[in-house]
Amino acid sequence: MLEGLLLGIENIAQPFHLLLLFLAIAIGFLGGATPGISGAMLILILLPITYGMESIPAFLLMTSIYAASVYSGSISAILFRTPGTPEAIATVFDGYPMAQKGQPGKALGIAVTSSAVGGIVGTIILMLLTPVLADFALQLSSPEYFALAVLGLTVVASLSDGDLVRGLIGTLLGILIASIGIDPLTGSDRFTFSSIDLRSGVGLVPILIGLFAVSEVLRKASENNSIQQKMEKLKIKILDISLFRKISKTITRSSLIGTFVGILPGIGATTASVVAYSEEVRWSKDSKKYGTGVPEGIAAPESANNSAAMGALVPLLALGIPGSVTTAIILGAFVLHGLQPGPMLLANEQELIYTIFIGLLIVNIMMLFFAKPFISMFQHILKVPYSILGPSILIFCFLGTFADRNSMFDVWMMLLFGILGFYLAKIKFPVATIVLGVVLGPIAEEELRKSIQIAGGDYSIFFTRPISAILLLLAVVVLLLPVIRKVLSNKK
């Protein structure tokens, strides 16, 4: 391994590779911060450009853009309640309220520091434990994935502003939306109403942009501009030592959760950030403060999504299984470059793999230095009147949704979810629970059905396997925890 790391450092030190790395940081940061332009979209756009490159610079560029875009997705999530990338969904929950309180600089500082630590922790763990972690992920099967998804769903449902029923309705609505389209296991139509567009399901992008971005422009249109005036006066502080000490436990815990979840194939950084946020809420002594703009609520998802983004590369590189949408695109890029990710790639292309690892480590460290000037630049957008910014965000919403699948149907869906999000926000409904149902629902269903198929209809498979049994037991405890607490407090 040491030999590989040295080769990686030697490769990165080449002027062309260094230049490429800086270029990737700029592109990734800019794209990630801009709502409607995701890391996946940037990689797709740049893919044809990399055809003419050698594999090392090509993948250095793509993986570095991937890391940088996850980083900066939080900027617009905090400032505009519009996640720059899907991975920054959970950052909205506390990042935006903190910005609304007139502390956007503090919120951005927490996000950058947490992201950097999460990214560095994730990359170091990858470099040291890739073979071990890959082996562990191989041991997990459908029952464990199902149990993990159920745990995620139950945690989310308890995150419902103290109203479990409304939270559960939101989660179930999300699962229902995700079940629209062709059934992945049998090919049967479900709630498609003979529509060709609905056969491919409702995309995550229109749901996200509609619920979080369009509804926000509508909300802004109906409210005052006082927050914008407050933001302009504030400065960003990236490394606030006393604050860092306060949230260091959260960052450590969330970085580890993020790396673990990221390594699990098919789950990705979006789920990791949500799970880390939920864990933070669950273990907090005062869970009600979450959603009001607390530092831990920003640190948890940000450290988790960056560490998970690194973790998601493990199943891709070691097993050839993508850990997320963006890594699935990177998998396609490998194939286009004549390389097949998997165990043989590690053996045959050690130089490439370790160059990627070193590149990712450098990107994560460099972000600490690049973030401040970039955010300062980005902050100038705040000085732009909303009569200019609002229409621009709406156009980005359209572009981001359309470009995802080149579909006007998705744009109509975005508008529908925009209206829904606006109305639900007005009645203080926990909108995030819908998204979580959409993300975790399909995983839960697919793995449940696969498990039952494997076990020949025997449902005890979930309890005879130790990891799935523990995870399901945890899920039951989590779901019953609010009830138990209530009973105990009544007794007192």
Partner: protein
């Protein structure tokens, strides 16, 4: 709470309708297996149950004195919000968020015929005006520049196959190749 009552009714109606439609989905042929129908039906039954629980709860709450108090608080909040709007901004349109939604619907509706550049010009023009831009020249310049910049970046540079429109509008779109 009034909101919970409406939410519960919507949940009950939605889950009931989808439950009826779920009967069209085939179930599993193999015993003990979960077919394509099993999962959505389970989800919808749970939704229906939760909708009924929420309905009962909201009906119970209606009679509570505490709800009357919270309603009063809500009314105060609405008053405060309205007064804030009057002080901080001068929207000119009391329900401009719905007008903007209408403009967005129009934008998407005309897009296949008018193409991206022209539709974007119209969207920028109307939404900038609705969001408070006053000078007509500024509104026009902003809309023109927005359409130009977005079309250049996303059609010319990024090669996204955005709708080009028909006839004259197609010719306008073809300026961005």
């Amino acid at each position: 709470m009034k909101h919970n009552f409406v939410l519960s009714i919507v949940t009950i109606i939605l889950s009931s309708i989808f439950l009826i439609f779920s009967l069209q989905i085939p179930s599993s042929d193999l015993p003990g297996q979960i077919g394509p129908r099993g999962w959505p039906v389970a989800v919808l039954l749970l939704m229906l149950m939760l909708g009924i629980i929420l309905l009962i709860r909201s009906l119970k709450e209606k009679t509570d004195e505490t709800i009357e108090k919270s309603d009063q608080i809500t009314k105060t909040e609405i008053k405060e919000e309205n007064s804030g709007e009057n002080v901080e901004s001068s929207p000119g349109f009391p329900r401009r968020h719905w007008i903007i939604m209408g403009v967005l619907l129009l934008y998407v509706f005309i897009m296949p015929w008018s193409g991206f550049p022209f539709a974007t010009f119209i969207l920028s023009l109307l939404s900038a005006w609705l969001l408070g831009m006053k000078k007509k020249v500024n509104i026009f310049i902003m809309a023109f520049v927005s359409s130009l910049v977005f079309s250049f970046i996303f059609i010319t540079l990024l090669r996204i196959p955005l709708p080009r429109g028909i006839n004259l509008f197609e010719n306008i779109s073809l300026l961005f190749q």
